[in-house]
Symmetry: C2
């Protein structure tokens, strides 16, 4: 049987042809009025994605680069920072902080748990000198979402700066940066933004900028003062063709509308969770989000084979577990340029795969549960 | 909900990106050794698709142009020709013959029926002076396939020339031109060949060529003697970039292998028929083929709305009925670059659509039946 490819992993995500083709245009020189006009307009429009009126800075980097920019522009070596660690991407905040000699106050959680406002409040009380709090809105490694809005409530009227990793969460989980009072948001291009990997983003509140201006952490490439001084131009050579793509992406995303995008991810998440449960499987996360659904590998099934068969036989790329969760969970994303039939495809491929591995499956049971959610949510049927 | 597009109509069919990109190359001049090398190799390889050692001629035309070429190169005005008419494309043979003053001996069938070898035999006996027989291997308008092999048995050791319209049938229905003794095959690019519309094809046996050489029907553009004299070059300006695409298409099709391609279409056809029946619907055709599944619109449902909702709401383009079958049937194709998850997508979209139109549907019933076929056939699960 002919095999087509479906990326149902939490990044990279499927890229619409119109975005790919937008990148397949002549590379013009970046120090020209022509390019400046494009990047200016694009970054202006990109504010919508973050629901902010703050400047959005773009890096030629992966999401991790944008995380490093947040750390090295906000905290000085030797200073304290509160870091929530409930998965691989919380660990990444910690690793970056430690690499720059920052004193990490860790809120260590079991993987799969979401930090609570109470835990943040307690850490803030115990560490009045920790000005910056690093969080992960969507912890992709466990398919978990935290209550960012409630946590921003705790910080917004204080001198604390709330940083959130939105590399996977942006557009998949509601975020109203200005309205909620989130201070710093970092993201990447290869997730909800529907682009190939290659761009990192950061946007900061005025409160956060005050820290940037005084910061003495050693840095160069990610020094935000350069980016601000040159804005909307880039201090170094920008990824010209990726800016073309971003321009197209923002156009398409605005056309769909942010509420519709959030709702789409919510419905796809609910349908996927319903399908997984209908197949008798267990969700791994204590607070599942709409980026990806993490599923516990059922007893007697080799987790490595699930992702391998899904990809090699059915062309459906999902993600396995990371670190100690390797072969213990698998993750089906519903992130970015994904629609209901992509989720139905992933679910039917999962049914075939599990059946092949000896797990009892009644064909169509998962799909049926997903279809019922789509119907109930009014998007189909 | 984000809407992606799925072409599940019997042509045009989905075009793989690699084929589209093969066309997105520099247009070179056609009277050059460089282009000649490409078209020569491409047409040589294209013989495989028809399972023939005869030359394959390519026209800048739709499939109808290739049909006209068959008629005007094989039959003289005033001569008799046997024409099987069991749907819109049989009617087209008749219309072309009549336009050129050919005396049509019509085997008129109900739409949805397939011609039998006995009917052909009878017409041959009654019309010993009708040398050419025009048939439609896959009658797309009714989703019907005829038994081409059995009919070729009747003509191969006679002086009769068997012509078959393979515009939709090629690659979806088994065809072994040389082995079966089929004389003339015409096709187009936008079906099993997985290209955009724009190219027509014809290939002829030696027996058929004898008629071509003596033919006096008025013609110019489609005069096959020009094509043969210039072969592999084109007598007129060839569609250069479409030849690039054909080159890529043939490469991909050979890689998949013709038996696999035939089997893929067979399995998709069986799965779609099983799904439709599981939803309590009736197949329209008396002898359903693997190009598209024609389904009778159930009582109380507006047929026009089925295709409209499928396309406008779910992005799934299927075909309605043609002529007197308008709004009485709809046709779900499984033709060309289509795989199992495309069929599952079409079936689930059909379930949603029918439910929306008040037809009783248990979500997932059709999908389940299709999945069980995929499992039984060993292609999934």
């Amino acid at each position: 049987m002919l095999r087509k490819n479906y990326i149902m992993a939490p990044g990279p995500t499927p890229v619409p042809i119109d975005i790919l083709l937008a990148g397949a245009k002549e590379t013009i020189h970046h120090r020209t009025p022509q390019f400046l006009e494009i990047i200016e307009k694009t970054l202006e429009e990109a504010k919508y994605l973050f629901q902010t009126s703050n400047r959005v800075y773009v890096f030629v980097s992966s999401g991790t680069g944008a995380m490093e920019a947040a750390v090295t522009n906000l905290v000085n070596p030797g200073e304290k920072a509160i870091v929530v660690v409930s998965g691989k991407f919380g660990e990444r905040w910690k690793e970056i902080c430690q690499a720059f000699g920052i004193d990490v106050v860790e809120i260590a959680l079991e993987w799969g748990e979401a930090v609570t406002p109470e835990q943040i409040e307690k850490a803030m009380k115990e560490n009045p000198d920790a000005k910056v709090i690093f969080t992960t809105h969507s912890e992709t490694s466990t398919g978990t979402v935290m209550d960012l809005k409630a946590i921003a409530e705790l910080t917004r009227n204080t001198d604390r700066v709330l940083v959130t990793d939105e590399v996977s969460g942006l557009l998949a989980e509601p975020l109203k940066m200005d309205e909620w009072g989130v201070d710093v948001v970092v993201s990447g291009s290869q997730k909800g933004i529907m682009m190939p990997p290659g761009l990192g983003f950061i946007t900061l509140s005025k409160k956060a900028w005050a820290l940037v201006e005084q910061n003495k952490c050693p840095k160069y490439y990610y020094d935000l003062r350069y980016y601000d001084k040159n804005y909307p131009d880039n201090p170094w050579t920008p990824a010209v063709n990726m800016i073309y793509m971003l321009n197209q992406s923002v156009k398409m995303l605005k056309e769909e509308g942010i509420e519709n995008i959030w709702n789409r991810h919510r419905v796809l998440g609910e349908a996927t969770r319903a399908a997984v449960k209908a197949l008798g499987l267990e969700l791994f996360s204590k607070r599942p989000g709409n980026v990806c659904t993490a599923v516990t590998v059922p007893a007697g099934v080799d987790g490595k084979k699930i992702t391998k068969i899904m990809r090699d036989k059915y062309g459906v790329t999902i993600a396995g577990g990371q670190e100690h969760l390797a072969n213990k969970i698998f993750r089906i994303a519903h992130l970015g340029y994904v629609s209901l039939f992509d989720s139905i495809t992933a679910i039917s491929a999962l049914e075939f795969t599990l059946h092949e591995l000896g797990y009892p499956v009644k064909f169509g049971e998962g799909v049926k549960a997903a279809m019922e959610i789509f119907h109930r949510e009014g998007v189909a049927g």
